[in-house]
């Protein structure tokens, strides 16, 4: 090991750098995967269709259609940016409407509601 040439030292430095960067990426990947498992909600993007958003947030599609004021459609592939254009509102506004509808759907049923879930004591 005494006779390492300049090229070999260079190679060792490059190898160390590659390992360091790879390690950083590996840590980042694991951290994101963990974060993803804890916060499972997908960010709503303009390309998504209403059924996709409903599927992603596990809410029935009619809930979202109702919030947008559209009749529920089967096999609807229209991206929400198209819906926003048709309704003359910004995509951000439409996404906010969807998020509110999702939050409402997920909110616990208030006490004294007319449809208590079976098997659960009040």
């Amino acid at each position: 090991m005494k006779h390492l040439g300049r090229k070999q030292w260079f190679a060792i430095v490059v190898l160390a750098l590659v390992l360091l960067i790879t390690g950083l990426f590996a840590v980042r990947t694991v951290r994101r995967a963990v974060y993803w498992r804890l916060h499972r909600d997908e960010v709503i993007r303009p390309w998504m269709s209403v059924p996709y958003v409903a599927h992603s947030y596990r809410v029935p599609p009619p809930v979202l259609y109702e919030a947008l004021g559209i009749a529920p459609q089967a096999h609807d592939r229209k991206p929400i940016k198209e819906i926003a254009r048709e309704q003359n509102i910004s995509v951000e506004q439409l996404i906010a409407t969807l998020q509110q509808a999702i939050a409402r759907e997920r909110a616990p049923i208030p006490s004294g509601s007319q449809s208590p879930s079976p098997g659960r004591s009040p």
């Binding site: 190898l15 990426f25 499972r40």
Partner: protein, 212 residues
């Protein structure tokens, strides 16, 4: 809306033709977010908007077609480059070496760059063409690799449907980890080889010193 969102919106609206076009163009060497397209297509399959077998056939077909374009560009468009290289010092020998390397490692290289080290794929198409790697063998490895690639990502998208954005973020990082590990292995191997040759050189020097 960025390009990725535009492409995904088009995929959602028009389905297979968009999938075919984007993947073929990307395989020929234009950088487009194809992994995302495959994962999204898998997600649409789960939603019932696309059919699984159609997605698999169309996506693999598009990728193979794009790769053949890259190969053809290397093989026939690459001739002017080849001529210039040949006129250089030792040009002929270098070309022969490249061809021998492509013939020896070509198959495994082509196969792995289809699904594991995908960023290198378009480059290998070109160099395989330039090196005159036999087209029949190129096609077979290509079809095997691309089909595996398509199946992996479409099924990932199907099983993690509704989580396309999150899945992609993780996969993007993972691909850099794979590339980094491969680079590290190659570097370490070369370093080891060069250290060994230094050792032998030292031994030879020591022996010659003793003899003189």
């Amino acid at each position: 809306m960025n390009l990725t969102d535009q492409l995904l919106a088009a995929l959602s609206l028009y389905g297979l033709p968009v999938l075919f076009g984007v993947i073929a163009i990307a395989a020929a060497g234009v950088p487009l977010p194809v992994t995302l397209m495959l994962v999204a297509a898998g997600s649409f399959v789960e939603l019932g908007e696309m059919k699984l077998w159609q997605v698999l056939v169309v996506a693999s077909g598009a990728a193979v077609l794009g790769d053949q374009i890259g190969y053809a560009l290397g093989r026939w468009g690459g001739h002017s480059v080849l001529e210039r290289m040949r006129r250089r010092k030792n040009g002929e020998a270098k070309i022969a070496q490249a061809r021998a390397f492509a013939k020896r490692w070509g198959g495994a290289g082509i196969f792995l760059t289809r699904w594991l080290v995908t960023p290198l794929g378009p480059w290998l198409n070109l160099t395989s063409g330039i090196a005159n790697y036999p087209w029949g063998a190129f096609l077979i490895w290509d079809v095997l690799g691309e089909t595996l690639w398509v199946v992996i990502y479409v099924l990932l998208g199907k099983f993690f449907s509704g989580r396309v954005q999150a899945l992609l973020d993780i996969l993007g990082n993972l691909s850099w980890v794979i590339v980094g590990l491969i680079a590290a292995v190659i570097l370490a191997w070369q370093l080891l080889r060069s250290l060994r040759s230094t050792q032998t050189l030292d031994q030879v020097k020591a022996i010659s010193r003793r003899l003189s």
